[in-house]
Amino acid sequence: MTTESLTRRFQDKIDQELKIEPKDWMPDAYRKTLIRQISQHAHSEVVGMLPEGNWITRAPSLRRKVALLAKVQDEAGHGLYLYSACETLGIRRETLIEELLSGKAKYSSIFNYPTLTWADIGAIGWLVDGAAIMNQVPLCRCSYGPYARAMVRVCKEESFHQRQGFEILLTLCQGAADQKAMAQDALDRWWWPSLMMFGPSDKDSIHTAQSMRWKIKRFTNDELRQKFIDMTVPQAEVLGLTIPDPELQWDEASGHYHSGPIDWEEFGQVLRGNGPCNAERLEARQRAHQEGTWVREAAQAYAAKQIEESKKVG
């Protein structure tokens, strides 16, 4: 069959909402797009452990500590599910890790911001996980089977992440004036980077149109961002916090909140490696990989020895 007719059959399947599985024929560009997106997603889960890990030993109570530990543990697992889904596309895990460690691969720009106070842990759960869930729920219906299935698992497990973050902020907001100020400060710093998580605006997004045709994406960046704003503003009111956007107001005509412009220059700078923590995050991953070398080698040596032993017995 010609590539042209294969491509037509492929698109027909997608149009009929049929899933694509690893051994099915797929265009190279579809495979490449998925490898890029799923690996970036996996890297984000892994790097995403760093800002929160920063507060595990300093959590203010045992309740907060076990919750944060469980959340960071989940993120490690989610990285694994995603790397595995990515490997079904014929790329090796080692290659993906090398691309992260060399700085070639991207991960979500949000994790290049520092967690300065305990309230930041609340803000990450509420806003960053809230935005991630907004992105991930439609991905459960993605056209590529292994990615969609990984997302179902991730979404199910993450259902507590946002709630634990909101609970942290609610507690602070109901506490002393200093505590509420700390929560407001965290919202001030995390609000705009959270909106940037949805990626460039539709007019500047080079991948959106094709990804929508392939049903990898179900909504555009701007649509998801708007949904997130509409959902989050009333939640900020429950907390009694002010969203740091002077232009933010309810627009009766559209039925959505109107919000001010995003500083895309900042987004670009962070993506290019000039965010507050880019170097620190990459360095932490490189160090972890390097310091884990002997563990990987020891496990292999032990496995080889077990095989030798069983041969002797057999």
Partner: protein, 94 residues
């Protein structure tokens, strides 16, 4: 010459989008025959769209006697579930 054909475990994907699910096992001389026989035995009523066969000796299972030790620790981690966190009614859909 092996006197017995090896045992193979059969997994069926009911339709694209779903995982392969274990269906049973059969004996076959090699993988191609195992797939052929799995098709004949396990998918006579439109059970699926894809088959996996794995030689049973390659499946490693946890010991049933270890089940408590392995899975009990997850039982008291109620903070891994959303209901553990108290939220006001206004944000209950979070």
């Amino acid at each position: 010459m092996q006197s017995e054909w090896p045992l193979w475990e059969v997994f069926i994907r009911p339709k694209n989008g779903l995982h392969h699910i274990h269906a049973g096992s059969l004996h076959a001389a090699d993988a191609a025959m195992a797939i052929q026989n799995a098709r004949d035995v396990y998918t006579r009523r439109n059970e699926g769209v894809s088959l996996w066969v794995v030689e049973s000796v390659h499946l490693h299972a946890s010991d049933p006697d270890d089940a408590d030790m392995l899975f009990e620790p997850a039982k008291d981690k109620i903070y891994r579930h959303p209901t553990f966190y108290d939220l006001p009614d206004e944000v209950k859909h979070m």
